[in-house]
Symmetry: C2
Subunit: 501 residues, 2 copies
Amino acid sequence: MARSARPVLSSLGPVALDRDGAEPLHRQLYRALRQAVLDGRLRPGERLPPSRALATEWALSRNTVVTTYDTLLAEGYVTGRVGAGTFVAASLPDAAPGGAAGRDEARRGVGLSARGRALAEAPSIARDRVGRPFALGTPDLEAFPFALWAQLIGRCWRHGGRALATEPDPLGYGPLRAEIAAYLRAVRAVRCEPEQVVIVSGAQQGLALMAQLLLDPGDAAWVEEPGWPGNRAALLGAGARLVPVPVDGEGIDVAAGMARGADARLALVTPSHQFPLGVTMSLARRLRLLDWAAARDAWIVEDDYDSEFRYAGPPLAALQGLDGAGRVIYVGSFSKVMFPALRLGYVVVPPDLVEPVRAARRHFDGGTSVVPQAALHRFLADGHFASHLRAMRSLYAAKRTAILASIETAFAGFATAEAGEAGMHVLLRLPPDCPDHVLAGRAARIGLTTPCLSGYYRADAETADAVTGNGFLLGFAAHDPAALDRAVRDLARLAVDMPNG
Amino acid sequence: MARSARPVLSSLGPVALDRDGAEPLHRQLYRALRQAVLDGRLRPGERLPPSRALATEWALSRNTVVTTYDTLLAEGYVTGRVGAGTFVAASLPDAAPGGAAGRDEARRGVGLSARGRALAEAPSIARDRVGRPFALGTPDLEAFPFALWAQLIGRCWRHGGRALATEPDPLGYGPLRAEIAAYLRAVRAVRCEPEQVVIVSGAQQGLALMAQLLLDPGDAAWVEEPGWPGNRAALLGAGARLVPVPVDGEGIDVAAGMARGADARLALVTPSHQFPLGVTMSLARRLRLLDWAAARDAWIVEDDYDSEFRYAGPPLAALQGLDGAGRVIYVGSFSKVMFPALRLGYVVVPPDLVEPVRAARRHFDGGTSVVPQAALHRFLADGHFASHLRAMRSLYAAKRTAILASIETAFAGFATAEAGEAGMHVLLRLPPDCPDHVLAGRAARIGLTTPCLSGYYRADAETADAVTGNGFLLGFAAHDPAALDRAVRDLARLAVDMPNG
């Protein structure tokens, strides 16, 4: 591959760049530097040379080096601010989607199992910092009634502490399971009895638990392409072979899934509000997916991650409610309506799976603490959940309107937003000459978090050359309209400068 | 095998009993009936024939049938009370230690993965019912300061709720990790920094998490023989091959371990207070185990499940504190000092494992809810934990003295108790003509929970014929001395009647 290998940074050793190859030089340089960070040749805190100096030394355009640095910055491998230089990050980021092979060597010495290495290296969820926009999936905590919460939680334990404290059911606190079943039946048309509701420590545990229970290493599983890395990681942690299935305007393309992996044991989907594209799965597609699962005895995991926030039209019925064959597992979370550190979610399983889940749960963790469950139960049972949800829905609707207006003004003629009718983020589509990962690097330098649409593609190596989208997912729920407007305008300025930057 | 097969219960179909075989008839009958329950030929709620009728019909001694029914009753496959008949249980028990092969068929139809079936079938922890004695590992909840707890937990959220609510660290709430590190350094001579402390949803999650991270399917792992089924289940859930290693007066027999499985990747041990025998691992044995692990790059998981309750002598130092090679993972729980439904424990990992654990944790569940963590942090930081522990230690010491005195009186000349100097149970050794599983069945009919020592043997099928102990583990912490005394005397009456029963 190497046509012209030349030594670069003294600590790096020789790096091969293929100047006539198909892969752009900035991608080659990116891979080489990232590998050096991952295997420790570039040490934490070490300063990278200024882009101009490196460009001269290596006979590259400065733009190539800047683009490379920006990508490394956006993914957290290096840190730096305008004018202050670029440094290897003190702690490595979670492996970025689609590119973590290099960590293998660094970890092998520790003595992990192969599964442990896969877990440590699986694509993970970027840690959004709440602060400046546009953190994803983060609620507005200023609007949460903490004083009320404090009162309820104290009351739970003052009266009836002893009953709460005894040996718990690994499936969850009974009264909370009953409240959730009633809520899901009424609002989401989920068909379930309280016994089918399993309380988990966040939706992520629900996904991981079901993957462990239903998939063996090597089993194929459909994942939406593009999709949420945390969902894929839950399946990878169970050793699944991911089959990326494209999403179109009707949701996951079931025919494509059957063509690519008819033998799949499971399909993990987001029918209400596809992540990240925002599509709602059509009824025809839903029925087709259910038919496939029933015919194949395959499982469908319905991740209903943010369906509480719907701003127009009636609430959507869950896919689970259409299932006559008991193949759908419905997963939801309280992190977005309540607060992230609550770590409570739920899984609704077909009746046949209740006892296997109980057994598996006993082995994995024995169940979730009753402390948050009892408090949440009171919050639901006393009607506070419903009124908090109503308040947040109208607060977020206003923020959504505001960010859409800001985008229309600031990005006029350059980029457009797709908002769907639900959720806590909008999708800003960027033009091709403004690659999202490059612009994200520049945005990071001014403190903006701009999750890249392209980063949610490429579920596995096989599809590394597949088509990807180009844009940002801009979370709006945690920020006030003025802050959103400022951030949108700052971002637009960076974007407009990009093609010539 | 069948010398004389004859049809029995109409719904059972033909059952083969080998009347000249080595296996006692009551064991053969037990296996046949259990299998019929597991695969649904005997349905939940169905009544079994009276023992006298069945004995006549099958030409068995009535004692054989009674013994069989008692064993099924003790393991939860059937329910019944003296005089009211015997019925198939409405819900199946967790698979009893060492004998769950029959569930396989029942579960296969559901569509679980092979791993899912293994999880559903792995030996698990019997659910002790708190009520009449002698529940294991259950603290005295009457003595827990719930009013204080209610006050602390409310205070956490009234002041600083917003800071608690934001995106959590999957490794746990920082201030709690720091408190635990300080406590373990001071009291258990554990060598650790707060960064090495990982908060988990109970010790069971700590064990399962480490097993997933460190073991691949088929990897060998040493387990103590006898030992705790939940520990084994955590390893089985990761696909490990269990190597049962005998325990003698100095703890796990390291030489025997090396002879049986020198290639093991991990040893799971209870050095402070071996479960269930109560032995403390000798220093020589500790050093030998550490040498083995260092030489082999194997891991040692130290399960320190009840070391807080030590009634004589200075606190024991943890094995972890002797480890110079970074091979020991230390696991502890708050369920026994606080209350079971709290579901909080901790794992202290070597520094190299911190980041892999964080990554694995993100995929499995994203961390434990901050709600119980923040409350426990205040309980520790304000000194309530230390004073509650002191109070419980002296309360349990008095109960331990009382139960030992009751046993000495009631079982004089028949059976003796081994108490060690620690823990929340005593070990009652029974004479050979009084098999623990048979007596447990009779005890269950009068409402007593008497976990059988023999049930903690036979970690896997290979050792099905190995030597087993015969006795009961009698938990005393949750009951007052008068109730313990009554229960001990009731049990002694059943035991003395046994050989002629």
